[in-house]
């Protein structure tokens, strides 16, 4: 009698354990067949600057590399630390700081063409990954500031160095993070 009860209890406990283990999220690598969907979700996190600083020719290829586990999550400087955190959460891996060889994270900037110097060579137009530069041969070029992702890919091809990066025209204003004066903690000011 006691033995049957004990065995019953054991079976119950085993069922509980099995149920728990099956309910847990399986690691991402197990779901290889869903790599495509995963790549799409990763691509939604990436900042879409298409700058190639990760070593891939765009955000989509990097997303695919991440989905297939061929690259690490810390190679996207425009995404910033927050991007790494989001990728880590999505891929169920630990947060990693930026790899030492990645370029530093910069604030969002927009390319601007110095129209006095531009010679109309169209090299930057060919370099722009999002077709945000307008112009034609031997005519002055200009950047569509709203479409510019700040990838800086147009800087190096320019033969006359007429492109520079500026902060966006309407810098998005934020309520500042509340800073508590350190003074307030001191006894004399509190008194």
């Amino acid at each position: 009698m006691m033995l049957t009860l004990r065995i019953l209890l054991l079976l119950l406990a085993l069922a509980l354990l099995a149920k728990l283990l099956r309910k847990l999220p399986t690691p991402v690598k197990a779901q290889a067949e869903e790599a495509d969907a995963l790549a799409r979700r990763i691509d939604a996190i990436l900042p879409q600057t298409q700058c190639g600083q990760c070593g891939h020719p765009g955000c989509q290829p990097y997303a695919e590399a991440l989905a297939s586990g061929q690259d690490s999550i810390n190679r996207c400087p425009p995404g910033g630390e927050e991007g790494i955190h989001k990728l880590a959460a999505l891929l169920h891996v630990d947060y990693q700081p930026f790899a030492p060889d990645t370029p530093p994270h910069k604030a969002k900037a927009v390319a601007i063409i110095d129209e006095r110097t531009c010679i109309g060579c169209t090299l930057c137009i060919q370099a722009c990954p999002v077709d945000a530069i307008l112009g034609s041969a031997k005519q002055m070029h200009t950047v569509l500031a709203d479409e510019c992702t700040g990838c800086e890919l147009c800087l190096s091809p320019c033969p006359v160095d007429c492109i520079s990066m500026r902060p966006p025209e309407q810098a998005d204003w934020r309520w500042g993070y509340p800073v508590i004066a350190i003074k307030a903690v001191k006894p004399e000011s509190a008194a």
Binding site: G176, P178, V179, V185, K186, P187, A190, A191
Partner: protein, 269 residues
């Protein structure tokens, strides 16, 4: 930076402590009337120890002394502890007081573990406490204080209700031994309810607090019926501490994000 807000809108910590003092006052008066000089001595001893350990804790944490001392946290806790332990060894009372307050500081000044519960557990671990005597007037005084605090919005009723319900529910299981029903432990239960209703050591949601109280009441009575010579005060304090540690767990399990329109809209997209 927004301006600091108008004075009228800020009840403030000091106000909360004042109200709690007011609520303790009747119980203190009853004890003073009943025991006279003894009680005064005990109380002053506890208060001195508490103040000293508060100062030490603040110094160690390098915080401003004046505002915290004026707020009177330490004195409040000392009074609560001496209400629990006034019958025992004064040394024990002082030690419990000091350790409880220092532990509170070690956990950042507002921890889940209520100093009164810590002190009681410590004291009972150290030596057997004298059994509490029946004291109906004290219980009534405490009840009136708790009601006052509830009216002021400082204590939430859910934990108390849960405690009562749990206790009642477990009565049939414990074979109506009526361990807690007597006036002996009435004031103890009330103090436990008070401790459990304080925000710092109770779950954030109403359902969490209800469950918290329910669990405490049931566990305490069940334990008393399981263990033949268990005492309600130490049992209650132990269970209180154990449950206090599961407050984050209750919060995690029961706290749900709001499902307002904007959030729902964002989730739906």
């Amino acid at each position: 930076m927004t301006p600091s807000l108008p004075q009228i809108l800020r009840p403030g910590m000091a106000w909360r402590r004042q109200q709690q003092w007011l609520a303790l006052l009747p119980a203190l008066l009853i004890l003073l009337l009943q025991h006279g000089m003894d009680m005064v001595l005990t109380l002053s001893l506890a208060c001195c120890t508490a103040l000293a350990s508060e100062v030490l804790g603040l110094k160690l944490r390098r915080q401003a002394l004046a505002p915290m001392l004026r707020q009177g946290d330490a004195l409040l806790f000392a009074t609560q502890i001496s209400l629990l332990l006034w019958q025992g060894n004064p040394l024990l009372l002082c030690g419990g007081c000091a350790i409880a307050i220092l532990l509170r500081h070690a956990l950042g000044g507002s921890s889940l573990f209520h100093p009164a519960a810590i002190a009681l557990v410590l004291a009972s671990a150290w030596q057997d406490l004298p059994a509490p005597t029946s004291n109906p007037s004290l219980a009534i005084a405490l009840l009136s204080g708790i009601l006052w605090l509830g009216w002021r919005g400082i204590l939430r009723p859910q934990a108390m209700a849960g405690l009562l319900a749990g206790w009642l529910l477990s009565l049939p299981l414990s074979g109506l031994s009526a361990q807690g029903l007597s006036w002996q432990s009435g004031s103890l239960w009330l103090l436990a309810g008070w401790v459990m209703s304080e925000g710092a050591s109770s779950p954030a949601t109403a359902s969490g607090r209800l469950l918290f109280g329910l669990l405490a009441g049931m566990l305490c009575n069940l334990f008393c019926s399981l263990a033949p010579h268990a005492r309600p005060d130490t049992t209650l304090a132990g269970i209180l501490l154990l449950l206090a540690a599961s407050v984050p767990l209750l919060d995690r399990a029961l706290m749900r994000p709001s499902s307002g329109r904007e959030t729902r809209k964002a989730a739906g997209e």
